[in-house]
């Protein structure tokens, strides 16, 4: 048991654990968690605990990674409620010339960029009319809504902000306020239970 290679192999375990600790991207952390599982199985096997090594390899590497992949994928999402008539423009997003002359697709791309910066995934949820969109925001089905402002609202302020983005999550409001660079939208924050605007 007093061989020098044992110490070298055991030193790999805190090394990979440290790498896992300093990783900020959750998807990259999943991969590093798998590496930590493989190294831990090696260390346990070298130290003579064959059953612990087998459990670590099966549970720690396969089950934990699969479960946390599902958890990360379903929780790190920003649901954006939009009206259905705005949707066809969004699906043409791959064509760049369409994106240039359609400000709404541009706005969606901006929102997606600022969400990706915080490792969030943007999911578009279409609604039929503004009433159901408003109700979905109040009932916490979506986090953010983005609608075109009506003309009489537009006349009282300057013309440069044709879209209205509303969020009910305080943290999302702070993120979007600092990072959303698009000049075409106005950002407001609303508290969900009472529904009054600030």
């Amino acid at each position: 048991m007093n061989d020098s290679y044992v110490y070298i192999i055991i030193a790999l375990l805190p090394l990979s654990a440290l790498m896992l600790m300093v990783q900020v991207n959750p998807y990259h952390a999943l991969v590093i968690r798998g590496i930590l599982g493989a190294v831990a199985a090696l260390v346990y096997a070298v130290l003579g605990a064959a059953d612990v090594a087998l459990t670590e390899a099966l549970v720690g590497t396969m089950l934990a990674i699969t479960l946390s992949a599902v958890a990360v994928r379903s929780s790190l999402v920003m649901r954006l409620g939009i009206l259905e008539d705005g949707l066809p423009n969004v699906e043409d997003e791959s064509k760049t010339e369409r994106e240039q002359d359609c400000p709404f697709a541009h706005l969606i791309a901006d929102l997606r960029a600022s969400a990706n910066k915080h490792h969030l995934r943007l999911e578009l949820v279409p609604y039929a009319d503004p009433q159901s969109l408003q109700r979905a925001l109040i009932e916490k089905e979506v986090h953010v809504t983005c609608v075109q402002r009506s003309p009489h609202q537009e006349s009282e302020s300057e013309d440069v902000q044709p879209y209205q983005t509303t969020t009910r999550v305080r943290r999302l409001y702070e993120i979007l306020q600092t990072e959303l660079s698009s000049p075409t939208t106005r950002l407001t924050y609303m508290t969900a239970p009472s529904g009054e605007k600030h």
Partner: protein, 83 residues
């Protein structure tokens, strides 16, 4: 046979460094695949070195089952990238 294991740890440090440095997720997956097969071969070497049948069985099981989890993870990451 100590020098064999020390050389193997050196070979194992290369993909660990790669994972630490590279930002692309597929490069990390490649390094993970390399580390997974290397560690299980190292477990087999240790089992032969100590003449321990039990550790050898564990090494073979990890070698044959651990790769399945890797493929699962690859498909999950592909789904995340396309959505």
């Amino acid at each position: 046979m100590n020098w064999i294991l020390i050389a193997m740890v050196l070979a194992l440090l290369i993909p660990i460094y790669e994972v630490w440095k590279d930002e692309n997720i597929w490069q990390k997956m490649l390094a993970f695949a390399s580390i997974a097969s290397k560690t299980s071969v190292m477990i087999l070497v240790v089992s032969v070195l100590r003449d321990d049948w039990m550790i050898g069985v564990v090494g073979v099981i990890i070698l044959s089952v651990g790769n399945a989890g890797l493929m699962l993870l690859a498909h999950v990451i592909k789904r995340m990238n396309t959505l």
